[in-house]
C-alpha cells in the first residue's frame, strides 16, 4: 500500500509538472481528483488495509491528499493569474534573463568577409601547414639561394631545411602539385616574420592569397578581379591604382593602392600624406613557378595576389596598434 501511495505521488508530480494550460489542468483534475480519480480509488482501498497498518497508511494517505490538493490549487491560481493582468504587479523594466553570445575574433570576421567575396567569384578555399620546407616556401617560388629577395621576409628557421612559412604561397605550390588547371583558390592562414613586436608589426600575421591558373589568364583579368573585390570590400566608388613592384614568384608584379578613405585622398597620417593606401600585392605567376610544379607556361598562365588581414582589419576599423589584436582582452573581443 505504501508503495502505491509513493507511486501515485510520483505519477501526480510528473503529470502536474507538464501542465501548461487550463485544458490540461482539467484533465489532471479528472485523472486524480474526480470522483473516479486515482486518489479516490486509493482512499477506497483503505478499507481493505489490515487494522494494524491503518494508522501508518492513513497518515501517509492524508499527506498525499493534502499535497495533491495544495499543489492543484496553486497550479490553478498561477494558470488563471496568467490571464488576469491585475492579479499582480510586473516590473517590466527588470533586465531579461540574458544569455551571453560570444563572437568570432575580428580577424576571423574580416577573413570571412573576404572569403565570401572570393567564393562568389568562384574561388575555392585551401589550407596548408605553417611549418614548411624551405623548398616550398622559397625555392619552388623562384627565390634563388643567396638572393636578396630572401631578405624581404625575415624568416624563423627550425633548421636549415624547415622554416615557419613567411607567406601562404607554399599552399599555391601544394595545390598546383596536386591538381591540374583550372585552379581557382584562395588560401588564408598564419604566416611568420621575425620582426620586432611593435605597434606596427608582430612576429606573425594572417594572410589571404589567391591563385587562378587556366588557359588565357591575363593581367587585365587580375585587375578586374581585384578592383571588383576592393569595391565590394572597401567602398563602391573608390579610386585605385596598380604600380609595379617585385615578388619573386610573379611577373609582372604589382601593388594595388586605393584612395585613402580617411582623408579621401588629400593626405593624412594613416596614408602618410600620400592619399593612397596599399591594400595588396599581386602579379602574373612567374613561368618558373609554373614549370616547377610541372605546368607548361606556354599552355597555361595564372595570376596570384595576397593581402594581410591584420592590416586590412586595422584600416577598416581604425585600429592603430596591431598588438591589441593578439592581446585577447575580452573588452576588445566584445566590441566586434
Amino acid at each position: 500500500m505504501i508503495e502505491k501511495i509513493e507511486r501515485l505521488r510520483t505519477e501526480y508530480s510528473n503529470a502536474s509538472g507538464s501542465v501548461t494550460d487550463l485544458k490540461q489542468l482539467e484533465e489532471l483534475r479528472l485523472k486524480f481528483l474526480s470522483r473516479n480519480g486515482a486518489l479516490q480509488q486509493l482512499l477506497e482501498e483503505m478499507k481493505s488495509v489490515p487494522k494494524e497498518d491503518k494508522p501508518l497508511v492513513g497518515k501517509e494517505l492524508n499527506i498525499l491528499k493534502k499535497y495533491i490538493q495544495d499543489n492543484f490549487t496553486s497550479l490553478k491560481e498561477s494558470l488563471e493569474s496568467q490571464f488576469a493582468s491585475t492579479a499582480s504587479y510586473l516590473d517590466l523594466s527588470l533586465p531579461g534573463r540574458q544569455i551571453e553570445f560570444g563572437s568570432k575574433h575580428l580577424l576571423t570576421q574580416t577573413l570571412d568577409e573576404i572569403k565570401k567575396i572570393f567564393k562568389g567569384f568562384g574561388f575555392s578555399v585551401a589550407d596548408g601547414p605553417e611549418l614548411e620546407s624551405d623548398f616550398n616556401n622559397f625555392t619552388a617560388l623562384n627565390f634563388p639561394d643567396d638572393h636578396p629577395a630572401r631578405d624581404m621576409q625575415d624568416t624563423f628557421f627550425v633548421n636549415k631545411n624547415f622554416v615557419m612559412r613567411t607567406h601562404t604561397s607554399p599552399v599555391q605550390v601544394r595545390l598546383m602539385q596536386k591538381q591540374v588547371p583550372p585552379i581557382r583558390s584562395i588560401m588564408p592562414g598564419k604566416v611568420y616574420r621575425s620582426e620586432a613586436i611593435s605597434a606596427r608589426s608582430y612576429c606573425l600575421f594572417h594572410q589571404v592569397e589567391g591563385l587562378y591558373v587556366d588557359k588565357n589568364v591575363t593581367f587585365a583579368e587580375l585587375k578586374g578581379t581585384l578592383v571588383s573585390f576592393a569595391r565590394q570590400f572597401y567602398a563602391t566608388d573608390l579610386k585605385y591604382r596598380f604600380r609595379p613592384s617585385f615578388f619573386p614568384f610573379t611577373e609582372p608584379s604589382a601593388e594595388m593602392d586605393i584612395t585613402c578613405y580617411i582623408c579621401q585622398g588629400n593626405g593624412c597620417r594613416v596614408c602618410k600624406g600620400s592619399g593612397w593606401l596599399e591594400i595588396l600585392g599581386c602579379g602574373m605567376v612567374d613561368p618558373n613557378v609554373l614549370r616547377n610544379v610541372g605546368y607548361d607556361p606556354e599552355q597555361v598562365s595564372g595570376y596570384a595576389f595576397g593581402m594581410g588581414i591584420e592590416r586590412t582589419a586595422m584600416l577598416k576599423y581604425g585600429i592603430n596598434d596591431i598588438r591589441i589584436l593578439f592581446d585577447n582582452d575580452i573588452r576588445f573581443l566584445r566590441q566586434f
Partner: protein, 808 residues
C-alpha cells in the same frame, strides 16, 4: 635610397616638372617614393647678412649689440655668441622665421633693454651640425640678402625611394635618371663632374705605364669576373670641394676627405662601388684577388677585428689580405692624411659570393648592398676613369697613363626574343609592336632582329634581372603604365566545383560563439618550459626571445595567457576559444615532413562564474566539469555524433588535466576535456579553476557534414515511469543508465537521471539516484500493464546487479 633632385638634373632636365609630379612618375614606374623632403623648407627666412658694427651690450657682459645689413636694410640685433665680430658674413634669421632646432618663431624683442630684430644663428640652430660654440661665419664673398638655402646649395628636394631587389640598375642617380628618360622620352646628359675626356684617349688607355706602378692578379674569376684599376699619383688629401660636399651631404652622407668622398660620389652617381687603396701600403704594389680557403682574422677600416669565412673572397697584396672584397676595405691599406698615391679598385663581383660574405659578417655596406644585387660588369672601367679624373682634379694628382682591366673573357650580353602575341596574351591588352620596340629601345635594349611576330634584343649589362621574355614583358608593362591596361569586367568562371577546406572549422567556430565563447588569436611561438606541455616541442633556431622560442604543442598556452591577462584587468569570468595549429616533433631530428605532426585543434576554456548573481538567480555558481560536459554533449548532438560517441572518464587525468573526460569515435579521440592541473595554471599566475576542452579538428572535420536522416514523428502517446534507488556511492549514473538501456524491452526509449543526493539517513558511502524512463512504440498505444511488467522486471534486475535498494 636617397635621391637628390638637383643631382638627378646632372643627367636629365626636370626643370618643368614639379617634385609632386616626379614623385608620382617614379612610384608608378616601380621606384616607390616613400618620403619626399624639401631641404630648403626649414631654411626659409634665413639670409646672408653683414656685421657692420659690433659693440658691447650696456647691461650684460656676455651679450653684444650688432648693426646688421641684411641686403636691404640695417637692423639692430643682440647676440650672445663669443665669436661675433665686425666684418663677418653671418646667418640672420629674419623676424617671423621658425628655428628648426627648437621650433621657436623669431620676433622683435627687447633683450635686457635693447631692441633686437632678428637672430644670428649657429649650425645647430639650423640643424646642420651639433656645433653650438658660436654663430656660423660664412665665406667673406657671400652676398648679403642671399637666401641661405641658395648660399648653401640646399634648394633641393630629396626623395627616399624603396628599390625592390630586382632593380639594382636603379640604385644610383644615373639609374633613376635612366628610367625617367624612358618615361619622359627625354635625352640623358653627361654629368658635369668627372669629365674624363682628357684622359680617355686611345693613347691613354693603351699606355703601359700603369703596369710599372701596380699589378692585379685574379685567382678566382668565378667570384670576381672583372677587376679594373687605375693609379693616381701625387695627390693631396684634403677637404673636398664644395660641390662634392654638398652633393654628399644632400643625401645624408658625411664628407670625409677628397679621395673617400669621390669613391662615395661615384657609388651614388652611377652605382659602381669603388675602393681607394693607399698604393704605398700595398706590399709589392700588387693586388691578388682570391679565396683564402681558411678561416682568418681581419681588421676592417672601421677598426673592428672580424672573423673571415674560409670561402670569403679577399683582396690581398703580395703578402696579406687588404680588403674584404665588395664589403669593406682593411685598416692596413686605407687612405690616410699622408696618402700620396692611390690605387682605385673598380670591380664586378659575383652577387651570391658577396651576399654570403656580408651575411657571415652580419655587415651590410653601401657597396655590398649593390654588389649582392648585381652591379653593371660593363661599367667598371668607366667608373674608375671618372673617379681618377675627379681625384686628379680635387687632389691635384696625376693619373698614371694606362688601365688595368683583368677579366677572363668579355661580358656576353644575353639575347632575348619577345613575341608580340605573348605580350598581349599575358597583359590581356594589345600593346602594338611599335610601342614594344619604342619602350625596349628607350630602356637601353639593343634591337638585333625584328620580324612581324617578334623582336630579338640584347639585354644591357646593367639589367641582371632580365634574361627571359617575361622579364622584358614586365618592363614593357611598367613603362607602358599598369594603369593603361584596362581592368576587364568579364571574369571567366571555371566549371569546377567550389570547395572550402576551412568550412568544418567555421562550423565549429559558429557552434562555440553560439554557446557564448569569444574567439581569441594568440601567438603560436611560446616558451618551451610549460609544465605538462613541454613534450617534444619544436624549437626555433633563431628565436627573438626565450618566451617565443618554441612552437606550441597545445592551445592551452595561448588560452591561459589570455585568461591571465583578463584576470589582471578584472575580467574573471571567461569563456574563450581558439583554433589553430599545434606542432610536435615525432623524431629527434626534422629532416622530412614525416618527422613533424602539425595539427589543427580547437581549444576552449571555462573559468570563473557560470551563473552570476542576478535578480532571478539564487546564488553565484562557478564553472565545473559538468558545464564542460554539457558543451561536449551539445556539440555531439548538434553534429549528430551522439549515437556513436563513447565517453571515457579518467578522474586522475593526464599530464596537464584532471577530472578528464574524453570522447572516442571509433578508434579516434575526438574530444579531450577536464580541469587544468594546479601546476599548469600556477605557471601562468592563475589562482582560480580553469576547465579546458579540446577538439581534434582534423579528426572531426569530415564528421561535421553528416546529414541526419528523417524519422517519422511518433503518433502514439508516450508513457513515463520513475524510480529511485539507494546505491553505493561509487556507482556511476552512466553505468546504471547503460544497464537500464541494455536490460529492458525495446519499448523503453529514454532514460534520464533526475535526482541525486546523499544523506545521513542513507548511510555513509551511499547515495540516492532517481531515474525517469520514457516508453513508447511507433506503431501502437502501449498498455499500462506491459509498461508495468517491463518496469518491475527492471527494478529487480537493478536490485540484483547493483545491490541497490528501491526507495519508497
Amino acid at each position: 635610397m636617397k635621391i637628390s633632385l638637383k643631382w638627378l638634373q646632372d643627367y636629365i632636365d626636370l626643370s618643368d616638372i614639379s617634385p609632386a609630379k616626379l614623385e608620382n612618375l617614379l612610384t608608378m614606374a616601380g621606384l616607390e617614393v616613400e618620403t619626399m623632403e624639401d631641404l630648403s623648407g626649414k631654411l626659409q627666412g634665413f639670409v646672408v647678412a653683414h656685421v657692420q658694427e659690433h659693440t658691447k651690450h650696456p647691461n650684460a657682459d656676455k651679450l653684444s649689440v650688432c648693426k646688421i645689413f641684411d641686403g636691404t636694410e640695417v637692423r639692430q640685433v643682440v647676440c650672445g655668441a663669443p665669436n661675433v665680430a665686425a666684418g663677418q658674413k653671418v646667418v640672420l634669421a629674419l623676424p617671423g622665421t621658425i628655428i628648426p632646432s627648437n621650433g621657436m618663431t623669431i620676433g622683435k624683442a627687447k633683450l635686457r633693454g635693447v631692441e633686437s630684430t632678428g637672430m644670428l644663428c649657429s649650425e645647430r640652430e639650423l640643424e646642420l651640425s651639433e656645433d653650438h660654440s658660436g654663430i656660423m661665419v660664412l665665406d667673406e664673398n657671400a652676398v648679403p640678402g642671399t637666401p641661405i638655402a641658395d648660399y648653401m646649395n640646399r634648394n633641393d628636394v630629396i626623395f627616399e625611394i624603396g628599390i625592390t631587389p630586382n632593380r639594382p640598375d636603379a640604385l644610383s642617380h644615373y639609374g633613376v635618371a635612366r628610367d625617367l628618360s624612358a618615361l619622359l622620352n627625354r635625352e640623358l646628359k653627361l654629368s658635369p663632374y668627372g669629365r674624363f675626356e682628357q684622359w680617355f684617349t686611345k693613347d691613354f688607355i693603351e699606355a703601359s705605364e700603369v703596369h710599372n706602378h701596380a699589378s692585379v692578379e685574379v685567382l678566382d674569376f668565378a667570384k670576381c669576373p672583372r677587376y679594373s684599376a687605375l693609379v693616381v699619383k701625387g695627390i693631396t688629401i684634403k677637404e673636398s670641394p664644395a660641390w662634392l660636399r654638398n652633393r654628399l651631404e644632400s643625401i645624408g652622407s658625411r664628407s670625409i676627405n677628397n679621395i673617400v668622398d669621390i669613391t662615395n660620389f661615384i657609388l651614388h652617381d652611377i652605382g659602381q662601388p669603388l675602393h681607394a687603396f693607399d698604393l704605398d701600403k700595398l706590399d709589392g704594389a700588387k693586388i691578388i684577388v682570391k679565396t683564402m680557403g681558411t678561416e682568418g682574422k681581419f681588421t676592417t677600416l672601421d677598426s673592428k677585428e672580424r672573423t673571415m669565412h674560409k670561402d670569403a673572397l679577399m683582396i690581398c697584396d703580395a703578402g696579406r689580405p687588404v680588403a674584404v672584397a665588395g664589403v669593406m676595405g682593411g685598416e692596413n691599406s686605407e687612405v690616410s692624411s699622408e696618402t700620396k698615391n692611390v690605387l682605385i679598385e673598380s670591380a664586378y663581383f659575383n652577387p651570391g659570393s658577396i651576399r654570403k660574405t656580408a651575411k657571415s659578417l652580419t655587415l651590410s655596406t653601401d657597396a655590398s648592398y649593390r654588389f649582392e644585387r648585381g652591379t653593371d660588369p660593363g661599367n667598371t672601367l668607366f667608373a674608375a676613369l671618372r673617379a681618377a679624373s675627379l681625384m686628379a682634379e680635387a687632389g691635384e694628382g696625376i693619373v698614371v697613363p694606362g688601365v688595368i682591366d683583368v677579366k677572363e673573357h668579355d661580358i656576353e650580353l644575353i639575347q632575348v626574343t619577345v613575341r608580340f602575341a605573348r605580350v598581349n596574351s599575358i597583359l590581356g591588352y594589345e600593346v602594338s609592336s611599335a610601342q614594344v620596340l619604342d619602350i625596349v629601345t628607350k630602356l637601353g635594349f639593343i634591337v638585333q632582329a625584328k620580324t612581324e611576330n617578334d623582336v630579338t634584343v640584347l639585354v644591357p649589362s646593367f639589367r641582371p634581372d632580365i634574361d627571359r621574355e617575361i622579364d622584358v614583358i614586365e618592363e614593357i608593362a611598367r613603362i607602358f603604365g599598369y594603369d593603361n591596361i584596362p581592368a576587364i569586367s568579364s571574369i571567366q568562371v571555371p566549371m569546377i566545383p567550389i570547395t572550402d577546406a576551412t568550412e568544418g572549422l567555421d562550423k565549429l567556430r559558429t557552434f562555440f560563439t553560439g554557446s557564448g565563447f569569444y574567439e581569441i588569436i594568440s601567438n603560436s611561438l611560446v616558451n618551451k618550459h610549460i609544465p605538462g606541455l613541454e613534450n617534444s616541442a619544436i624549437q626555433l633556431m633563431n628565436p627573438q626571445s626565450s618566451d617565443m622560442s618554441a612552437l606550441r604543442t597545445s592551445l592551452v598556452t595561448g588560452l591561459l595567457t589570455a585568461v591571465q591577462r583578463n584576470i589582471s584587468v578584472g575580467e574573471r569570468n571567461l569563456k574563450l576559444f581558439e583554433t589553430g595549429h599545434v606542432f610536435r616533433m615525432l623524431s629527434d631530428m626534422i629532416t622530412d615532413f614525416s618527422d613533424i605532426r602539425e595539427e589543427e585543434v580547437l581549444g576552449a576554456v571555462f573559468t570563473g562564474h557560470a551563473v552570476e548573481k542576478e535578480w532571478y538567480t539564487k546564488e553565484i555558481r562557478n564553472f565545473d566539469i559538468y558545464d564542460v560536459k554539457a558543451s561536449i554533449i551539445n556539440l555531439l548532438d548538434k553534429f549528430h555524433l551522439s549515437k556513436e560517441a563513447v565517453f571515457v572518464y579518467t578522474p586522475e587525468g593526464n599530464s596537464y588535466l584532471d577530472q578528464q573526460i574524453s570522447v572516442q569515435f571509433g578508434t579516434e579521440v575526438l574530444i579531450t576535456a577536464g580541469r587544468l592541473k594546479r601546476e599548469v595554471i600556477k605557471a601562468f599566475d592563475i589562482e582560480q579553476e580553469v576547465f579546458y576542452l579540446e577538439v581534434g579538428v582534423e579528426k572531426i572535420k569530415e564528421l561535421l557534414f553528416r546529414k541526419p536522416t528523417f524519422t517519422e514523428l511518433v503518433k502514439f502517446p508516450k508513457m513515463y515511469r520513475d524510480f529511485a534507488f539507494v546505491f553505493d556511492k561509487m556507482v556511476n549514473a552512466g553505468d546504471v543508465e547503460l544497464f537500464i538501456r541494455q536490460n529492458s524491452s525495446q519499448i523503453l526509449r529514454d532514460v534520464r537521471v533526475f535526482d541525486i543526493f546523499e544523506s545521513e539517513q542513507l548511510g555513509a558511502a551511499k547515495k540516492s539516484m532517481a531515474f525517469s524512463l520514457e516508453f513508447f512504440d511507433e506503431a501502437r498505444t502501449l498498455t499500462d500493464d506491459e509498461v508495468e511488467t517491463v518496469f518491475s522486471t527492471l527494478i529487480n534486475k537493478i536490485k540484483d546487479n547493483f545491490q541497490a535498494v528501491l526507495r519508497g
